[in-house]
């Protein structure tokens, strides 16, 4: 058999799952879509003593509007997000990124909460969560807290989650009016991990001057990288080609990609600059196109 032995428990409710996690802590892993955990277990890189299967907990899946935000359950599968046309319209960054996430068979099974909790720095959704200023509801058996997206990602494959906690809800704020967004990535093949990916949002005000900007990257650090602060120079200005070139140069100076066998750090930095210009340009254009 591929995985090492473990005890399997199908949780019947969130309370049940959290009680089990409180009891077993780091010895236990939650099993959501399993598209990252199962490969790690098949390689025996992960050898949890207890698997708590949360797929049967219906309350944990679904998309719910909530005031000015949308709340997504952690066991909502990529495919369910793709099939919900209204959701992709509200959050075009996610709609645009989903086809880049692995392949159809993986998207039929993989979940948003599993993806975020796995915290792969090359993964698309953590960077998008940072760009969208998402908030994460995190629950333990007896308490809960909310974490802002950038504070959730502590390092490569590492989150702020404590051994007894579960990510139980992802809150996505709606974009301001006159906001355009764009997700782009470069990978060796469609569906591969990103060499660099970027999520960009541009909000325009009077005379089409930029009033807000968001820029977050995947694949260029140990966590998703929020480059919004270095693009702040664009606020109050018209997004000319020159201004975008300057923003790209600031991003290139800020990031510190690690490089890999597939792409040197210099190449990643170059691509990050190119994608910054293209994504901001496209996001800007989309404000005018009305999507």
């Amino acid at each position: 058999m591929k995985p090492a032995p473990f005890k399997y428990i199908a949780a019947t409710s969130l309370e049940h799952a959290l009680a089990l996690k409180a009891e077993h802590g780091d010895d236990a892993k939650f099993l959501a879509g399993g598209q990252s955990l199962m490969p790690a277990m098949n390689f025996r890189l992960a050898q949890p003593a207890i698997i708590i299967d949360i797929n049967g907990i219906e309350d944990l899946a679904g998309i719910r509007p909530s005031g000015g935000t949308t709340r997504v359950g952690p066991v909502t599968r990529y495919r369910a997000l793709q099939r919900d046309a209204g959701f992709a319209q509200l959050f075009p960054l996610i709609g645009e990124a989903l086809p880049h996430i692995a392949h159809p068979q993986i998207r039929n099974r993989g979940t948003i909460g599993g993806n975020l909790s796995h915290a792969d720095p090359a993964s698309e959704l953590p960077a998008i969560a940072v760009a969208l200023r998402a908030r994460f509801r995190v629950q333990a058996a007896k308490q809960e807290r909310w974490i802002e997206a950038p504070d959730f990602f502590a390092g490569a494959l590492t989150t702020d989650l404590k051994p007894d906690e579960m990510l139980t809800e992802i809150e996505l704020p709606l974009a301001k009016p006159r906001t355009g967004s764009c997700f782009m990535e470069i990978a060796r093949r469609r569906g591969d991990f990103a060499i660099v990916g970027v999520a960009a949002m541009v909000t325009l005000g009077d005379e089409d001057k930029c009033t807000a900007i968001r820029l977050a990257f995947c694949g260029v650090g140990q966590t998703p990288v929020d480059a919004s602060p270095v693009a702040d120079g664009l606020i109050g200005h018209t997004l000319t080609e020159e201004a975008l070139r300057d923003a790209a140069a600031s991003v290139q100076a800020m990031i510190d990609p690690g490089g890999s066998v597939h792409a040197t750090a210099d190449y990643q930095r170059h691509i990050a600059g190119v994608l910054t210009e293209r994504a901001l340009q496209t996001a800007h254009q989309r404000v005018h196109d009305g999507h």
Partner: protein, 160 residues
């Protein structure tokens, strides 16, 4: 550690099976070893190659990334269920044969399960859509062109 076992009932190609499985048994190995349905092939066993693709409640998934115990009370379809009662090929199986869509055939069951589900959802696909749908299945022999031709041809035939 004591081995951890579970009783499961699962429907595969419309036949109900009741079995006792160890919790760490992968669904792919359950199908092949416990049910002797060896048409589902096992390649990489970490979700990359697509050879083990089966339908879970009608949707293509990697059977190497699921535990057999997770299939409890679900409906599974495998390549063994593609032919009709008289043993006649599914239109995509026939088209793969006609267009030389396989050489060694190792990837074929996974491709058939992925692409028959795709054709049920999209009866008039473009070639680009076919390639996108096929992107999670590796084939080392054919270069894919003949597989794409077969899927396009099967789509046409299924439209009637």
């Amino acid at each position: 550690m004591d081995t951890d076992h579970h009783e499961i009932t699962v429907s595969v190609n419309g036949v109900r099976y009741q079995r006792r499985v160890e919790s760490r048994l992968l669904l792919s190995d359950f199908l092949r070893h416990d049910l002797a349905l060896a048409g589902t092939h096992v390649g990489c066993e970490h979700g990359v190659c697509g050879a083990c693709t089966i339908l879970l409640d009608g949707e293509p998934v990697r059977s190497c990334l699921m535990l057999a115990v997770q299939a409890k009370n679900h409906e599974i379809s495998t390549v063994e269920g593609l032919t009709n009662k008289d043993g006649e090929y599914h239109p995509l199986q026939q088209a793969m044969h006609d267009h030389h869509g396989l050489q060694c055939g190792y990837c074929t069951p996974g491709i058939l399960m992925t692409m028959t589900a795709f054709l049920n959802e999209n009866g008039s696909p473009s070639e680009d859509e076919v390639r996108e749908a096929l992107s999670g299945n590796l084939c080392r022999c054919t270069g894919y062109q003949n597989i794409v031709d077969a899927v396009m041809s099967a789509a046409e035939r299924m439209r009637g």
